[in-house]
């Protein structure tokens, strides 16, 4: 048990990104995020205005109502954390093809 927790903590990555999409994190980018995370094994969380939600839930992302130029914190926890974070940051930079 203890070992596992320690393992997980080693694989926790936290990063901040700025949402560039003109309409913020609306349905289409939220869909892209969830699709991108569909096969990743880690837990992924977005934190915005002190609220933390599951990034694999499109409803939760939408309910955050993140506007353009807002900064959100991404937390990835699990075995493929670094790769997942890398993919997410790239997607945010490309504005999800929006």
């Amino acid at each position: 048990m203890f070992q596992e927790t320690a393992e997980n903590q080693k694989n926790k990555v936290v990063n901040k990104v700025v949402v560039r999409n003109p309409m913020g994190l609306h349905t289409r980018p939220a869909t892209s995020i969830v699709k991108l995370l569909q096969h990743c094994k880690s837990d992924v969380y977005f934190t915005y205005k002190k609220e933390t939600v599951n990034a694999k839930s499109i409803l939760s992302i939408l309910m955050l109502a993140v506007k353009q130029n807002s900064r959100i914190t991404i937390t990835v926890e699990g075995e493929d954390a670094p790769v997942t974070m890398e993919k997410l940051i790239q997607a945010f930079q490309k504005e999800f093809g929006d």
């Binding site: 349905t27 289409r28 939220a30 869909t31 969830v34 839930s57 409803l59 939408l62 309910m63 109502a65």
Partner: protein, 586 residues
């Protein structure tokens, strides 16, 4: 929402004044009720599977729709549906629902519906309208899933999202009674009228309500923002931002006006020249008595006892009725209470009784006629009322009396019942006679000799005098309580009451319309009985009237030839006396 859609306006009969702005919600009871069931342990897993199947079926449908759209080149729509597919896999709508079904042991549709409602509330709380509108997709998929879960599903009143403007072909009084004013912004129906029982309940609750509106121009598959102006009977669809702002301002103004009026509660209901008016309340439920006390009402002028059926839809036993009435009597704290015996038939069905097949129920077996047919129901009620009323200022009132014979018959039943309890006629309960049929008005002199007070029910009196069905959408515009014939009947009744030295109360909807206050006082009505929430506004009207002016106004009204002349006369007088009222001066 169609942002580019044109603003347009529909008109109907204004029933309950007030302003509301909200989203259109079409309430169609043909769709069936969403059941709320507690599952037996071995049914829980079955329901989880049923829920998964509903999700899978919905996904299959969407994929099918996608391939169809793709072949048509509507790629934009394909992408949107992609999001809906992702939503159908959202843990909040999949694993979370399954967990809740297992935990609460409730059926899938009720759990799913509750979850959707919760998310709707969250979306509604988002300040950015763009994100708030994203809920539309969730609504769309939830409809799809619900269809699979609950074939022939019907929306219940509880599903109505808070603040909605509810459009329905019709609304029954019990549905209206169930409606929570916080949940419903306003109500718009195709049929109905001011004094239909549905209208009465709406007025009592202060829910803006417009009836007799044609739905022809509305496409219910679209979403609309709607403004309801219950003062004028106007429905504005797709209002511009400017229009919305205007009405929001008006709404705030009306709210502060009502707050200001509440300050009158400790002052007495007397005219400028010191004439005391009794101002009582019409109530349906015991908790409304608190409002009567709060607003400084003299008592209850009309307790519509048939509303005690609504919770269970059965006629309660004598003991149960006794307890209900006793609770009300106690809550009155020594103030007078008039209990009207069950007013059933017409548009109010009798629980447990198959209604007679009547071609014209309003001219048929209703109210006192029904009770004289089903004497046991009447006797049971009278026993409970008499017991509860011992030692308290309680009266019993008989609705829809049309002949002397009828009245004498019910009066005898009251006295016989009292004899069973050893109460002498001299110490008997006060008996009132409602005057709501023209024949009763015409023989008011005879009735006045046999009863302790008269109570004018103008809602029915207008309907029966003018031969206008108050619920008939084609006739609604002709339902005129200002018709001089009605005023003459009221005058006749008050004069006969005077002669017989008994008080005359008026408890119809016009009593709660401050534009009528001066006229009614001038016609000699000594007591007005209104839904509790109207006590402040009517008190304000009384306090701004002089009785001499009122008598003069009534004389002129009695000489008028048309309803319009009378309406102009009374609204002109009200505007002069109470110019600050935005609710009625418009």
């Amino acid at each position: 929402m169609a942002y580019d859609a044109q603003e347009f306006c529909l008109r109907g009969t204004p029933i309950c004044r007030g302003i509301a702005v909200g989203r259109l919600y079409f309430f169609d009871r043909k769709e069936g009720v969403v059941p709320d069931i507690t599952l037996s342990p071995h049914d829980v897993e079955k329901d989880v599977i049923r829920f998964r199947e509903a999700l899978n079926n919905s996904k299959r449908d969407i994929k099918h729709l996608q391939s169809q759209l793709e072949s048509e080149g509507a790629l934009e729509a394909v992408v949107i549906l992609d999001s809906q597919l992702i939503m159908l896999e959202d843990p909040l709508l999949t694993t979370n629902i399954e967990v809740t079904i297992r935990e609460t042991k409730k059926n899938a549709e009720s759990v799913f519906r509750a979850a959707i409602r919760k998310y709707q509330e969250k979306f509604d709380a988002i300040s950015d309208p763009f994100f708030r509108d994203r809920f539309k997709d969730i609504q769309d998929i939830s409809r799809r899933v619900m269809e699979y879960l609950n074939k022939g599903a019907r929306v219940s009143l509880h599903d109505i999202p808070p603040g909605s403007i509810v459009f329905a072909p019709d609304f029954t009084p019990s549905e209206m009674a169930e409606t929570k004013s916080i949940a419903v912004g306003a109500i718009v129906t195709e049929v109905g009228g001011t004094t239909s029982h549905t209208g009465i309940v709406a007025i009592a609750k202060g829910i803006p309500y417009v009836a007799n509106v044609s739905f022809e121009l509305i496409d219910f598959s679209q979403e609309y923002v709607v403004i309801v102006d219950g003062r004028k009977g106007e429905i504005i669809l797709n209002p511009t931002v400017k229009t919305i702002e205007k009405y929001e301002r008006l709404k705030i103004h009306l709210q502060s006006q009502m707050k200001g009026l509440e300050r009158l509660c400790t002052l007495s209901a007397e005219t400028i020249d010191g004439y005391q008016v009794r101002l009582s309340a019409n109530i349906e439920m015991s908790h409304q008595i608190d409002l009567v006390h709060r607003y400084g009402g003299h008592g209850v002028g009309l307790f519509r006892s048939e509303y005690i059926f609504f919770p269970k839809n059965v006629i309660p036993s004598e003991e149960e009725q006794y307890r209900i009435y006793k609770r009300i009597v106690d809550r009155m704290k020594g103030r007078s209470l008039v209990i009207r015996v069950f007013d059933l038939g017409g548009d109010k069905a009798v629980p447990g009784y198959s209604m007679l097949k009547e071609g014209n129920p309003f001219l048929g077996c209703r109210a006192i006629r029904f009770l004289l047919r089903e004497k046991e129901i009447l006797k049971t009620q009278l026993r409970a009322v008499i017991r509860a009323g011992i030692g308290a200022p309680v009266s019993v009132l008989f609705p829809m009396v049309s002949t002397m014979t009828e009245f004498l018959e019910v009066k005898k039943i009251v006295r016989d019942t009292e004899e069973e309890f050893g109460i002498s006629p001299k110490k008997g309960i006060r008996i009132g006679c409602m005057i709501e049929v023209p024949s009763a008005a015409i023989i008011a002199d005879h009735l006045a000799k046999e009863c302790d007070f008269l109570s004018i029910g103008t809602n029915d009196l207008v309907q029966y005098s003018l031969a206008i069905d108050r619920g008939n959408q084609y006739m609604a515009s002709r339902y005129d309580p200002t018709n001089p014939s009605i005023l003459r009947l009221i005058k006749l009744i008050t004069s006969e009451g005077d002669q017989g030295q008994i008080p005359v109360t008026l408890c119809g909807e016009i009593a709660a319309d401050p534009r009528f206050t001066m006229l009614l006082l001038g016609l000699g009505v000594q007591e007005l009985s209104v839904a509790p929430r109207y006590i402040p506004i009517i008190k304000h009207a009384i306090r701004n009237t002089s009785i001499l002016e009122a008598v003069d106004l009534a004389e002129r009204a009695l000489c008028s030839a048309t309803s319009q002349e009378v309406m102009d006369l009374i609204s002109g007088a009200y505007k002069r006396n109470v110019p600050e009222d935005y609710l009625y001066n418009c």
